[in-house]
């Protein structure tokens, strides 16, 4: 099994500060860590390798110092790491990030499973994982809390939902984003620390991965952040009574009312 784990550098704080002018995250003067959710992806990747053999590669797009964070994944048991770093990648939104990662992953070669954290603790978008799967043209399962089995080029996983979980099976290669319920990340080992210290972590530029610079970084980022807020997941339900016809009529009426209220 060849596993690729995507990691992101985030500020080591729960309270992300936003620049009011640009609506982007202030990163200066704050210690950087691996996005905590990605640590579960790293752990799961190592567990898959320990069980089924193969190799785990960590990849990240970021500034050159992210090499140190990638080295931390080697200390945990990841085999290889590569950093995608280029001025042309700066200012990327989730779309440009997914594109850049997809080009890096294509250069890495054959893979079976790609793992990402469910979201990053700074941007909190949860978009890069699924977008990356789309860019690569492979299926994905989000919010995975347990991998039930990997067999016959298929993977079956439990996907966490608001009030339970779904069991989803798909073919490999596939991308999974994982939640913290999936495992308990390990601490480093001395042997891996010694290995990590000596390991060479290559840095790939836009040219190295054949990336189209119109699609990377600020150039490739159509997103404009207007406002940031946590969406309200609690939606009040309403049970509609009556015959199917009556129910449909009621629903249409209700939706029209809502729609016109919004646009008026």
């Amino acid at each position: 099994m060849n596993v690729i784990v995507c990691i992101k550098q985030v500020p080591a704080t729960n309270e992300v500060k936003i620049n009011k002018q640009t609506n982007t995250i202030i990163r200066e003067g704050i210690e950087s860590i691996i996005n905590p959710f990605d640590m579960y992806a790293v752990e799961e990747g190592i567990r898959i390798k320990e069980k089924l053999g193969g190799k785990v590669t960590a990849i990240s797009m970021g500034i050159p110092s992210v090499v140190d964070l990638l080295r931390e994944t080697l200390e945990l048991g990841v085999d290889d790491a590569v950093l995608l770093s280029d001025k042309a990648f700066a200012g990327a939104d989730t779309l440009a990030t997914a594109y850049t990662l997809s080009m890096g992953i294509k250069k890495l070669g054959k893979y079976d499973i790609i793992l990402c954290g469910k979201q990053a603790t700074d941007g909190d978008t949860a978009q890069v994982g699924p977008s990356l799967a789309e860019k690569l043209g492979i299926p994905h399962i989000t919010y995975v809390k347990r991998i039930e089995k990997i067999e016959d080029r298929k993977i079956r996983a439990q996907r966490m939902t608001e009030d339970g979980y779904e069991v989803i099976e798909t073919t490999l290669p596939a991308l999974l984003t994982v939640v913290k319920e999936i495992n308990e990340p390990r601490l480093p080992s001395i042997k891996n620390k010694l290995r990590a210290k000596k390991a060479h972590i290559p840095i790939w530029t836009a040219e190295d991965i054949n990336a189209d610079k119109r699609l990377t970084g600020l150039n490739g980022s159509p997103t404009k952040v207007v406002r940031t807020f946590v969406p309200d997941m609690k939606i009040d339900g309403e049970m509609v009574q009556g015959s199917p016809e009556e129910q449909a009529a009621y629903l249409v009426q209700k939706l029209c009312k809502l729609y016109f209220k919004k646009t008026s």
């Binding site: 080992s189 001395i190 042997k191 891996n192 620390k193």
Partner: protein
């Protein structure tokens, strides 16, 4: 203090500290209260390669010595002296194999200890043979290709939890301690069973049990060294592992000191933090001095041993006595600084005071250690005349 650790020693210490802070500290009070054996922590140590720090590289370890072992014990003991003992007790149980095992024995037993798959224990003490270890009654009778063990060992650390036991038994009762031999006994050998788990004052996360041998038949390949070497095996092993007890003591003392400093700044009486009272300040200063002095002695002893010194009974005894007396004093003072809260189980220092006590007793009481030191001093004086 700068102890000029090598990069690898620094790494070992840091990782042990992380495990102590992140994994042991949160469970220490519960494991103490309920007497839970820390199998989960052992697994974490195993995954981190720490179980094998003192095992030679050719057997899957990291190739360090007593110093590396002591660094791990010290860091783990800051969070819990009892949990640390699962690791330290294994060191005591397996060192006889490292020191006296033949190639087959090393190949058979060391890799599983290094990987943390198995734990070890050391069985010397009996009901009527404590300080006077030469008084043991357990016998091993040669019978063809086997030895038959009979007798009961008492208060054996990791008893019941370990897979590999080094046991000292008399092969020739007429010769006294010169008739003792050391054996490796595997758990689940027929005729080998365990007594009940002892209820202890401290280090309650450590399992202490009797080892009971009733016509327990072990292959003659399990003899360590030669017949008659048992007492030497025991004494040489203890000389090496006593700095481990000393490191445990330093760790417990450091743990109690850290709690005391923090508390003294938080607790207010008479409108000010108690850390503003000179009586408290001096107590803290004395605690810090003693801990650092103990640590320096332990580290120096470990380095002496690892550098290949020949006779270090005196140094080994010195660091054990000094560090364990410091641990007792410092933990008692930590309780004092906490006042009535220090006496309560919800606060961590009463446990540390209970845990510290054992370091003055096991692997040779401090009285016996002083006997050893004095004897060496007198021997040296008589030689130089």
């Amino acid at each position: 203090m700068e102890y000029f650790l090598t990069e690898e020693q620094e790494m070992i210490k840091d990782l042990a500290k992380r495990i102590a802070d992140e994994k042991i500290a949160p469970v220490a009070l519960e494991y103490d209260e309920k007497g839970i054996f820390p199998r989960d922590i052992v697994n974490i140590l195993a995954q981190s390669d720490l179980c094998g720090v003192y095992i030679p590289e050719e057997y899957g370890g990291l190739g360090g010595g007593i110093f590396e072992m002591a660094l791990v014990v010290e860091e783990l003991s800051r969070a819990c002296g009892g949990i640390a003992l699962a690791f330290a007790g294994t060191g005591l149980g397996i060192y006889p194999v490292i020191l006296f095992g033949n190639e087959q024995q090393k190949e058979k037993y060391l890799p599983d200890i290094a990987s943390g798959k198995k734990l070890a224990a050391f069985g010397l003490t009996e009901a009527d043979a404590g300080s006077d270890a030469a008084g043991i009654q357990t016998t091993a009778t040669k019978d063809g290709d086997y030895y038959i063990l009979n007798g009961t060992k008492q208060w054996i650390t990791n008893g019941g939890e370990a897979d590999i036991y080094t046991v000292i038994a008399a092969t020739d009762k007429t010769k006294g301690s010169r008739g003792f031999s050391a054996f490796i006994v595997e758990k689940d050998t027929p005729g080998f069973s365990f007594g009940k788990k002892e209820e202890k004052m401290g280090i309650r996360a450590s399992a202490t049990r009797e080892l009971i041998f009733e016509d327990c038949k072990i292959p003659k390949e399990n003899l360590l060294g030669r017949e008659g070497m048992g007492f030497i095996v025991a004494m040489k092993t203890l000389d090496r592992t006593r700095p481990g007890v000393a490191a445990q003591a330093v760790g417990i003392a450091q743990g109690a000191f850290d709690k005391a400093v923090k508390y003294s700044r938080e607790r207010h009486q008479f409108g000010q933090p108690i850390s503003s009272f000179q009586a408290i300040q001096h107590m803290l200063a004395d605690m810090a001095i003693q801990i650092e002095a103990a640590r320096a002695l332990v580290y120096a002893t470990c380095r002496t041993i690892d550098a290949g010194a020949k006779n270090f009974s005196k140094e080994s005894a010195m660091c054990k006595v000094f560090a364990s007396d410091v641990a007792m004093k410092v933990t008692t003072d930590a309780v004092q600084i906490f006042g009535g809260y220090g006496y309560m189980k919800e606060y961590p220092v009463e446990k540390m005071m209970r845990d510290a006590k054992i370091t003055q007793i096991y692997e040779g009481t401090n009285q016996i250690q002083r006997n050893i030191i004095a004897l060496e001093l007198i021997k040296a004086a008589s030689r130089s005349k």
